[in-house]
């Protein structure tokens, strides 16, 4: 490791690599968790009504689901190994707790997803309708269990509980306290609803595109109606849950993060900061835009406007998280939520006036909102993870002490390749989805996949039979 300088470089590179690879990975669960539920709904409706439109929707969304799922799998594998590769001392110290949670994720969730995915995607013509329905349910259940256990692991790092420290290693004392650590419940719900919301806008926007193009209207109508209906419930709910996350656990266990989120250094500001340019070294803002009164009202629920927001100087300098990513991480999650609320209300108004399927400006707006949920999810994770710094296990294990003693050039090289590879994959994913959407769910009669060759053309059954 040598000089402190090269240790800092190593630490920075390792952090960037983790941040990049984790953010890339989370993009795909953000689509697949919710889409898997949507697939279950489509197939269940098909079984109940025997209406081909539902089957067509099922096959269409399944194709988009499958590619996202593949990207989720391969990028998840990277994270699994990176725990030991880049954070070796962390692996050694928290293995008995965090390793166990993620191992439970493997045996309960990953195998379940993988075991039934093959049937879901390639099984038609080989398994009956009931088995297909069951497979779709199992894949969806797998993604939910995955969210559960990964949030056990990560929440324990935010609010460690139920352990004892033996020679620097965290060892479990009470598994119930480990699993149901103070932040797990509320964060699990926040993440799950977040993932459903993100997929909701994704599906909604793509359905709206068909309205704009006046194609596949029966499918577009159902897609739009179902997702907007669900979003009208989930988005308001998420505001309530998010507020409990901030006011409940963050205020209690992650005060430095709360201070950084507000964008204040001194604890005198009763307004809400909209834009700040923080100067971490000098502990002041070089520039800021503030709306008076609002901070007191939103943060402390003091509507008289007299309660100041706590500032980051309350935390000793060496233990302060970076204000920049924390502040904007919160804003980029929360501002899109406001837009979501507005759109959802607009949707309800249009529906009541019977214009939901004819208001083209609204459909165009929805197309633009396809990525909005991802923005909130990325920003939320940046907030939660950078806000915990400099700790890896909150208050107990410093990130700086947990990095593997690699050569900085090793990490620089791998990081550079990941940047190129992941940009290419993201581009490819977008291209694939755009093309699948352009091709569309097909108009001709539904084609039953012919004799069970193991792998029927995935696109068959979508293309119109001529």
């Amino acid at each position: 490791v040598g000089t402190p300088l090269s240790h800092d470089t190593l630490l920075d590179l390792s952090r960037w690599q983790w941040a990049l690879t984790a953010a890339f990975h989370i993009t795909f669960p953000a689509v697949t968790v919710g889409t898997s539920v949507f697939l279950v709904v489509c197939y269940a409706m098909y079984m109940r009504t025997d209406d081909d439109v539902w089957l067509r929707m099922f096959r269409f969304w399944r194709r988009i689901f499958a590619v996202g799922f593949t990207l989720g799998v391969v990028s998840g594998m990277v994270l699994t190994f990176e725990f030991g590769l880049n954070w070796g001392p962390f692996a050694r110290d928290v293995g008995p707790i965090v390793g166990v949670a993620i191992l439970m994720e493997v045996v309960m969730a990953f195998f379940l997803e993988a075991g039934f995915l093959g049937l879901l995607i390639y099984g038609e013509g080989r398994i009956g309708k009931r088995m297909m329905m069951f497979s779709a349910c199992m894949v969806s259940l797998g993604t939910m269990l995955s969210v559960t256990w990964i949030l056990v692991a990560n929440s324990w790092m935010q609010t460690p509980a139920g352990y004892k420290l033996v020679d620097g290693q965290f060892q479990p004392v009470n598994w119930l306290h480990v699993i149901f650590n103070p932040s797990f419940g509320i964060r699990f719900i926040h993440m799950l609803v977040g993932a459903l919301v993100a997929a909701g806008w994704f599906i909604c926007g793509i359905s709206a595109w068909y309205f704009v193009k006046r194609r596949h209207l029966p499918i577009a109508r159902r897609g739009l109606s179902v997702t907007l209906g669900v979003l009208s419930v989930l988005v308001p709910l998420q505001i309530y849950i998010g507020d409990s996350v901030a006011g409940g656990y963050v205020a209690k266990y992650k005060l430095p993060q709360l201070e950084a989120m507000g964008g204040n250094w001194n604890s005198t500001n009763t307004g809400e900061n909209m834009i700040v340019i923080p100067n971490q070294g000098a502990a002041k803002n070089d520039w800021q835009v503030t709306i008076p009164w609002l901070g007191s009202a939103l943060g402390a629920k003091d509507w008289s406007g007299h309660t100041a927001t706590p500032g980051l100087k309350l935390t000793p300098k060496s233990l302060r998280p970076m204000m920049l990513p924390t502040f904007y991480g919160f804003r980029l999650m929360w501002w899109p939520t406001l837009l979501m609320i507005a759109v959802v209300l607009g949707g309800i108004a249009l529906r009541l006036r019977g214009r939901l399927y004819s208001a083209r400006w609204f459909h165009k707006l929805l197309v633009g909102l396809v990525p909005i949920g991802f923005v909130s999810i990325w920003a939320g994770w940046v907030l939660a993870e950078t806000g915990r710094q400099p700790w890896l296990v909150n208050g107990k294990l410093l990130t700086a002490a947990a990095v593997s003693p690699l050569k900085p050039w090793s990490v620089l090289t791998s990081l550079a390749v990941f940047v190129v590879l992941y940009l290419a994959l993201l581009g490819m994913y977008v291209w694939y989805v755009v093309r699948a959407v352009r091709e569309g769910p097909g108009d001709g009669p539904i084609v039953e996949p012919a004799a069970p060759s193991l792998r029927h053309e995935r696109r068959s059954g979508l293309a119109s039979a001529s």
Binding site: P89, F111, L117
Partner: protein
């Protein structure tokens, strides 16, 4: 026996299942590189498409079983193998994604087809190299890895084990294609399979003989007691190789069993694992980190044992069900007409 020994048995079991399952599926990837015919390559792809994700889950399980069960080892070995494991991950990404994209063109997409084959090859090579690096031993001081980034190579020993692993995976892939296909596809698999056996025999012999001189691993005084394990291992391995060579028979009307290569390959796996295990046990990272000092505390191991004990049987059940659903051969009839 302590709980930690039981957990190690579980790790070895998961490891075995992984190299058997992903072995055939990576090996089939390599086989597609050796073929030019679109129909045959698609047939082979069909064998992989529905199953690779489940096979790869076993890799995640190995990584986590080591991390949760023997965290010290994960903390030392993974950074030591950084230079080879990171490219393994890239290779797995490349092959997983390209597999989805080959469909984008009728027949065989030239670019994604190549990426799929090369990714499979590179992933197998990196796994073998990582294994060789571990077997030959790592420099450890004060609970962390203390060698350089390329120390795991051990003067090229890891390259030898990497190539051996590729030969093993190609054998496994050929055996699986032989079982699950017909016509020309099957005949070609037999041909490649026979070559793989020869390469594998040379590679295994060299890897095993060179292990003690390659790195800090040294035969401890207790080694003599494990002589019987080695003898059994060597016999099983040799028998497997011989039967594999013979069972790739090309005469469909003769007394041929399509299953025989798969069973012979399983014997090769078993023999090879006995030899490697006999060399290492009870050390985990040669020369001197043992299972007992690296293991997690009792409360962790108990939780792991219960968790794995409940879920692994369920997993095996539904994986077996999927194999049953996708039973039979790919597209033999059409194959026969074009062959």
């Amino acid at each position: 026996m302590q709980l930690s020994d039981g957990w190690m048995i579980f790790v070895i079991l998961a490891f075995t299942i992984y190299i058997v399952l992903d072995g055939y599926d990576l090996g089939i990837g390599v086989l597609t590189l050796l073929d030019r015919d679109d129909r045959r390559r698609r047939d082979m792809l069909e064998l992989v498409a529905w199953t690779w994700d489940g096979n790869e889950s076993w890799l995640a399980l190995i990584a986590l079983a080591l991390w949760a069960g023997v965290p010290l080892v994960a903390g030392i070995a993974l950074p030591a193998l950084y230079i080879v494991l990171i490219p393994m991950l890239w290779s797995l990404i490349a092959r997983g994604v390209s597999l989805e994209l080959i469909d984008e063109q009728d027949g065989w997409h030239p670019l994604w087809g190549k990426v799929f084959g090369i990714g499979s090859l590179a992933a197998g090579f990196c796994q073998g190299a990582a294994f060789g690096g571990l077997v030959a031993g790592l420099d450890v001081h004060g609970g962390t890895f203390a060698g350089g980034p390329f120390a795991f190579l051990h003067h090229g020993y890891a390259v030898l084990t990497g190539l051996t692993a590729v030969a093993l995976y190609v054998l496994a892939g050929a055996a699986w294609v032989f079982l699950k296909s017909g016509g020309e596809t099957q005949l070609r698999a037999a041909r490649v399979g026979r070559i793989a056996v020869v390469v594998l025999t040379a590679g295994t012999a060299a890897s095993w003989l060179l292990a003690p001189v390659a790195g800090p691993v040294s035969l401890d005084p207790g080694a003599a007691a494990r002589l019987p394990i080695w003898i059994v291992g060597a016999v099983v391995l040799a028998a497997g190789l011989v039967f594999a060579l013979r069972s790739f028979s090309s005469d469909p009307r003769g007394r041929r069993s399509d299953r025989a290569p798969v069973f012979s390959t399983l014997a090769v796996y078993a023999g090879g694992l006995l030899l490697a295990g006999g060399l290492l046990y009870p050390r985990l990272v040669a020369p001197d980190i043992t299972v007992h000092e690296a293991a997690s505390p009792h409360a962790t191991l108990l939780f792991l044992t219960i968790g794995a004990g409940v879920f692994i049987p369920i997993i095996l059940t539904y994986q077996a069900y999927a194999y049953w659903v996708f039973r039979g051969k790919v597209d033999v009839k059409q194959e026969a007409t074009t062959a």
